[in-house]
């Protein structure tokens, strides 16, 4: 695998030998998470479905989450077969598709969002949407829209050759998942292939609310750290402020999806803003060294 630092990136001004230029999108994401780490704080990574409740509404929702303290935004383009998502996100995705949300709309939303918020934006996108558009084109479009990376939850490293090449060329971070079931050999491969952060799957199962955090999540984060200096964020089943705070004590970030999507559906923007504030406070003050 070529050293990511030595190759040509197509993002204007992002060539590694151009010290005056802005960093590549992947570096911006890593830089943000590492800066928080140096401050002794964890990040709140906040997920939403692009096009839910509608396109404008989702743009407003992402902005509201950034204003309320989310450190990284995760934008999910709706997909017909979201197989790692539970009922809450499935319903939001179906609504977004029924409302006619297309990938061009999602890219437009990302473009507007990144122009107006400082938080790095990553996508959570199922691989067929990437494959069908063409990995190279999609990665370039993401970079052009100002996104820093993408989590592709159904793409393990061994199938990611084309996507890795495309995301490297565009300078965006390919984020991979680590699971409680992954062997150390697999964790090494996940850590080696990824950039941005490693997404540690907090619980067995699909996205959704859980009464308690899965027992093995701290151990998994530790096992991932043995293989990489990349930030490690944990998500899937992180359901409330207490759980997010618990995750923030050992991980570099807590990823929250279902709880936010559900709050947006039930209580609109004011409710979403309130929950994001609560989660952000919990995450940012979880460690004694934190603020």
């Amino acid at each position: 695998m070529p050293d990511p630092g030595t190759e040509v990136r197509t993002v204007p001004g992002a060539l590694p030998d151009d010290p005056a230029g802005p960093p590549a999108p992947a570096e911006r994401l890593e830089g943000r998470l590492e800066a928080l780490r140096r401050e002794g704080r964890a990040a709140l990574v906040a997920y939403g479905v692009a096009g839910f409740p509608d396109l404008e509404g989702s743009l407003a929702a992402f902005r509201a989450m950034a204003e309320a303290g989310a450190d990284v935004l995760e934008v999910g383009p709706p997909y017909s077969d979201p197989l790692i998502d539970g009922p809450v996100i499935q319903r939001a995705v179906t609504a977004a598709l029924d409302a006619g949300t297309r990938m061009d709309d999602v890219l437009g939303l990302v473009n507007e969002l990144t122009a107006s918020v400082d938080a790095p934006v990553v996508l959570l996108v199922y691989y067929n949407l990437v494959a069908h558009r063409g990995p190279k084109r999609f990665a370039a479009e993401l970079a052009a829209a100002g996104a820093c990376g993408a989590v592709v939850p159904d793409l393990p490293p061994e199938e990611a050759g084309e996507w890795l090449e495309a995301s490297r060329a565009a300078g965006i971070a390919p984020v991979f998942l680590a699971a409680p079931t992954s062997s150390d050999t697999r964790l090494a491969a996940v850590a080696e292939a990824g950039r941005g952060f490693v997404y540690a799957q907090a619980s067995l199962g699909v996205t959704g609310l859980r009464a308690s955090l899965a027992a093995g999540i701290e151990e998994l984060v530790g096992r991932v750290r043995a293989h990489t200096d990349l930030p490690v964020c944990a998500g899937i089943g992180v359901s409330n402020a207490d759980q997010a705070a618990a995750v923030a004590r050992f991980a570099d970030g807590a990823i929250v999806g279902t709880a936010l999507v559900r709050r947006l559906a039930d209580a609109g923007l004011p409710g979403l803003r309130a929950l994001t504030t609560e989660l952000a406070d919990a995450v940012h003050t979880a460690r004694p060294s934190g603020r």
Binding site: D81, R102, D154, A178, R186
Partner: protein, 422 residues
Amino acid sequence: MSDRLVVEAPGPGAAEVAHRPDPLGHFGDWGGRFVPEVLMAALDQLTDAFEEAIADPSFGAELDALRRDYAGRPTPLFPARRLSEELGLRVWLKREDLLHTGAHKLNNSLGQHLLARRMGKPRVIAETGAGQHGVATATVAALLGQECVVYMGEEDTRRQHLNVVRMRLLGTEVRPVATGTATLKDAINEALRDWVESVGSTHYSIGSVVGPHPYPLMVREFQRVIGDEARAQFLEAEGRLPDLAVACVGGGSNAAGLFAAFVDDEPVRLVGVEAGGRGPQPGDHGASLGLGEAGVLHGARSYVLQDPDGQVLPTHSVSAGLDYPGVGPEHAFWKDAGRVTYESAPDHLALDGFRLLARTEGLLPALEPAHAIGWLAAAASDGRVAPGTRVVLNLSGRGDKDVETVTSLLVDDETPADPADA
């Protein structure tokens, strides 16, 4: 079976088309493993268990005994004389409709449930479309004392209600799936979601040659008994190979099982028949190979019916078992290699095929293989299949489950007269 599987790379003389995929399950550009990381370990475990099992004579012996004593194998290869006369062909039917539970699906279930037991997994889950794979799953789970849950699209629970009842009687929990299009595709999504959560104790028994590696390879190997028997039976009866082998293609397991035995026999023409539905408009059919594009669905790269964004399209077929927007990756490989031709038969031809076989041979076919019969009849009448051609057609299942559907679709003058009204 095992002698074919231990071959790592096609050896000399085996340079034709049939082989095993690469270690990650790629048939050329197709197949592979596009699944969440959480499932990768289970797929590795399953691959190892499968490779060990087929190299273990005691596994083969147990499977063979169940095939013979429980399922009723070998199934006959029946020369269909009146059908042949009517079509001007020589047609033999591979009688998978006579297999216990009424379709070829049981071949796969026997293999997978024995593997589940070998892996120490007490719970088996499955998806089902027509309900035949669900019934086969429920049946073998009862036979081996395994806990069993079957996911089935809500739409399919209505049109295949009889099979829902059968599964429940066999002690299986049937969970209707209301998400998405509420058919087979969504039942697979839901089964995968269950598996992501339950992977430590649960085996997911996929019902066709679809899904991530090792499923396409494994299910083909469990189904190839169809083709191996049919080839030997034909040779014994005729002293030569058939000219043409035909099977319907939903996910593609009965076709893969038949074709696997013939794929190296270059002169044997192979035709897979997909669901033409109401016509070629998006959403009106299930012809993934004929009208789909490369994509990733349910863990493998293959031909997928999808819109310009890569959103998977709804499908339509009169038969629930062919109502699926994807297809097994090895079929994509065979199509590209030019080894198998994929055709389609619309709903009305399938109904024609259903009635033709009923009338000429006293056999009610399932609506899935009725597509193959309907296509063959049409192809014989317009010369795409020459007079006198020797054909093996896979009668993959019997039609009891479809009687209501067929009755409701026949227009008045075709409705069988009720003697009580006469």
